[in-house]
């Protein structure tokens, strides 16, 4: 009895503290958050018509697309963005053979040591090397980019909400601000050195727009429209973030199929064991 009495007292006291000192002042000053005073970013991402080929439970990589995406990364993104968790040997998964990977790696320079003097130098990369960073360190990256470090892209599509669509939207999101929305948010401006991008949560992004028609010449002859390049490089970055994506889904079908079979057997076995024990309720 004592413990229940004590409990009721403690419960009422705690509730009183909560209601009188936290809830009541909160209710007195209750104010729903005002409409964002600043230009609101676009939370709904866009995606290419028909979506990406690797999406959905049956999606697979399109090697041609990944190779094109790699070309976009190499010729555009890699000027500022590193890809530090991806090694050149991983490119074999894009459909290149060993010799092609070795040749491709040799096109890149990675930090090395002069074998005779021991001084820091660069050497052509080998397949076991990882993609080099364009900057020797963060300070250099900051200095070269208006105080904003270009993030590593290895995991970008997993490091943002709805990442694959987000990257695609961001690359194509350098639109003109909507005049109506601008009128609603008087503080809105795009400072010098930043660029308006409605999919970026801060609205103004340090990365300039990158993709212009025919910026690169695809080796397979595909027309290099901004949408095409954005789709290809997004596919490539989805691959860098999760190289096991397709293997994972294919394994999943097999595992779940097996489990369905096993569970049905387990259910029959369970019913068999209990048969006869449970007559119907009379």
């Amino acid at each position: 009895m004592t413990i229940r009495l004590a409990s009721i007292i403690v419960g009422l006291a705690l509730t009183a503290v909560l209601v009188l000192w936290s809830l009541a002042p909160g209710l007195l000053n209750f104010a729903l958050p005002e409409d964002p005073p600043y230009y609101a970013y676009q939370e709904e991402n866009i995606q290419p018509a028909g979506g990406f080929v690797f999406e959905g439970p049956l999606g697979t990589w399109d090697e041609q697309q990944l190779q094109r995406g790699y070309q976009v990364y190499k010729e555009v993104c890699s000027a500022c963005h590193s890809l530090k968790y991806v090694a050149f040997r991983n490119l074999e998964q894009l459909g290149y053979n060993e010799a092609e990977v070795r040749a491709e790696a040799a096109n890149w320079n990675v930090p090395g040591i002069d074998p005779l003097t021991g001084e820091a130098t660069t050497r052509p990369a080998t397949p076991t090397d990882y993609f080099p960073s364009p900057y020797p360190n963060d300070v250099a990256a900051r200095a070269a980019n208006n105080n904003a470090i270009p993030p590593d892209l290895s995991l970008m599509t997993k490091a943002r909400k709805d990442g694959t669509h987000y990257v695609y939207s961001l690359l194509l999101g350098y639109n003109e601000p909507d005049p109506e929305d601008v009128a609603k948010s008087p503080d809105f401006e795009t400072p010098a050195g930043l660029y308006f991008n409605e999919y970026f949560y801060n609205i103004n992004i340090a990365m300039p727009p990158q993709l212009y028609p025919d910026l690169i010449t695809y080796s397979d002859g595909t027309e290099a429209t901004p949408e095409q390049m954005a789709e290809d490089v997004t596919a490539f970055l989805t691959w860098t973030a999760e190289p096991s994506l397709v293997e994972r889904k294919q394994t999943g079908w097999f595992v779940i199929g097996f489990l369905f079979f096993a569970t049905i057997l387990a259910f029959l076995s369970y019913k068999q064991v209990w048969a006869g024990l449970k007559p119907k309720k009379t």
């Binding site: 413990i3 229940r4 409990s7 009721i8 403690v10 419960g11 009422l12 705690l14 509730t15 503290v17 909560l18 209601v19 000192w21 936290s22 809830l23 002042p25 909160g26 209710l27 209750f30 104010a31 729903l32 958050p33 439970p57 968790y85 991983n90 993030p151 290895s154 995991l155 997993k158 490091a159 943002r160 909400k161 990442g163 949560y201 973030a241 999760e242 190289p243 096991s244 994972r248 889904k249 394994t251 999943g252 595992v255 779940i256 489990l259 369905f260 096993a262 569970t263 387990a266 259910f267 076995s269 369970y270 068999q272 064991v273 209990w274 024990l277 449970k278 007559p279 309720k281 009379t282």
Partner: protein, 460 residues
């Protein structure tokens, strides 16, 4: 313990006889989860989650030991070693996704297990010790899960560690030195990561030990059941094996289908994208949230926004931050007192009309709301809502439960489990087997506490 009619282990071969004499582990298993453990025959699927929780613990230990073979607890490389596991180690991605989603599924199973205990009052005498040990296991799991989330050293790892260890800073006088001692520095760094890894590896084995005590305590009174009526005779029970091993096998199959679906098709859905960004002590994510399974407790923590002051004097008695910490820990600590707060002699919620109403219309929506509010942005109306539901949470356990258990008139209980299953039963002493002729209802349904054989005791 066992019921008088429990089957006895009989070694058949000379070898098993020899083992049984020297170290009777087969006998132990036989009596614990074999044919030697009589279990009420009317358990529903809510009774599957104990075995599933045990499976989850094994799953987490196996995948965890594998991951520890490739992980390095150093802030310079920890994030990279996790990526190494994902990219280079054979089936590393499978192990890591199984471990990460395994934690979530462990909590789903545990919450359903606790739900079962709350609704069917499994905490009541004679099963208080099982319940108390269960709460201890839950606390151990929370600590283990929290420290495990820190190990990848992503942004959420770091800021989660910082915020949660910061809670200890709320304790008066010793708070700040305690916080610095806990993380071994002024902010989480190598020292913290290493000790979290060490403890994350140790605690699951401690948990396994407490689980053994939990099961041991269970075998003293035997399993409860959906009617809450205690076992009276042999026809009330079936041997655990093969009846419940078969049922648990089926339950495990369903569990594994759901689990592998998440692992192979939606492995990052329950996680947070920010944890794929390496920890940066100089930049806070826009919204720091714990893993989903901590949301209710996080909502309670954040509900206390005002300092406890003496009105009109400005003297602060307890700071809001400390109130939140007290409430958050208190929200689990109240569970320790549950067996003594709810004194109703009837166990099952099915036979308690008033309890039933408050459970389904009060506690369940309240928990659902707290789950949602813990992950919401700290702005109105979420703050006021989390305050209302936090208040209800404590009122439910500390005020409503003691009062309704006092004033409630329970529905008539079935005389026995056999009657509940078969619709009729013979009184003890009758010579015929169970369930051939129905009895008049009023002849068998006694009010609780009045059972002449004393098998239905009040919970005190």
């Amino acid at each position: 313990m066992s019921f008088a009619w429990a089957k006895q282990y009989e070694p058949k071969s000379a070898f098993t006889k020899w083992v049984d004499e020297k170290l009777p582990v087969p006998r132990l298993v036989y009596n614990a989860v074999g044919a030697g453990y009589p279990v009420p025959r009317n358990l529903n699927y809510m009774w599957n989650f104990g075995v599933l929780a045990g499976f989850c613990l094994v799953l987490q230990i196996v995948t965890g030991v594998v991951l520890a073979m490739h992980y390095a607890a150093n802030t310079e490389v920890a994030f990279g070693t996790v990526e190494h596991i994902m990219r280079n180690v054979n089936y590393g991605w499978m192990m890591r996704y199984a471990h990460a989603n395994g934690a979530s599924f462990f909590f789903i199973v545990i919450y359903l297990h606790i739900f079962r205990g709350l609704f069917y009052s499994s905490y009541k005498a004679p099963r208080e010790m099982i319940w108390l040990l269960g709460v201890v296991i839950f606390l151990l799991l929370m600590a283990t899960a929290f420290m495990g989330y820190v190990l990848p050293w992503g942004q959420m790892s770091f800021w989660g560690a910082k915020v949660i260890t910061g809670l200890f800073g709320a304790i008066p006088f010793i708070g700040e030195p305690l916080q610095i001692w806990l993380v071994g520095g002024y902010a989480p760094d190598n020292a913290a990561l290493n000790r979290f890894f060490s403890l994350h590896f140790l605690l699951p084995f401690v948990t396994a030990g407490v689980v053994i005590l939990h099961i041991w305590a269970l075998h003293i009174p035997g399993s409860s059941n959906p009617t809450g009526v205690e076992v009276k005779k042999e026809s009330d029970t079936v041997p655990f094996h093969p009846y419940y091993t078969a049922k648990d096998g089926f339950g495990l199959g369903i569990f594994l289908i759901l689990f592998t679906f998440m692992v192979f098709f939606l492995p990052n859905t329950l996680g947070h994208p920010d944890n794929y960004v390496e920890a940066n002590p100089l930049s806070t994510p826009a919204l720091i949230v714990p893993e989903w399974y901590f949301y209710p407790f996080y909502a309670i923590l954040r509900a206390f926004t005002g300092d406890l002051t003496i009105p009109f004097t400005g003297i602060v008695l307890i700071e809001a931050k400390l109130l939140g910490v007290i409430a958050m820990f208190g929200s689990i600590l109240v569970w320790f007192f549950l067996p003594w707060l709810d004194k109703s002699p009837v166990r099952s919620g099915h036979y308690r009309p008033l309890f039933n109403k408050f459970f389904w219309l009060g506690l369940m929506p309240c928990m659902g709301a707290l789950f949602y509010l813990g992950g919401a942005k700290p702005e109105e109306p979420y703050i006021v809502l989390s305050q209302i539901f936090t208040a209800y949470y404590f009122l439910h356990f500390l005020v409503i439960l003691p009062i309704i258990s006092q004033i409630e008139v329970p529905k008539p209980l079935p005389f026995s489990i056999t009657e509940a299953v078969l619709g009729s039963d013979d009184k003890p002493g009758s010579s015929t087997g169970g369930g051939t002729h129905p009895k008049p209802k009023d002849a068998v349904k006694d009010l609780p506490g009045r059972d002449p054989d004393g098998s239905l005791q009040p919970a005190e």
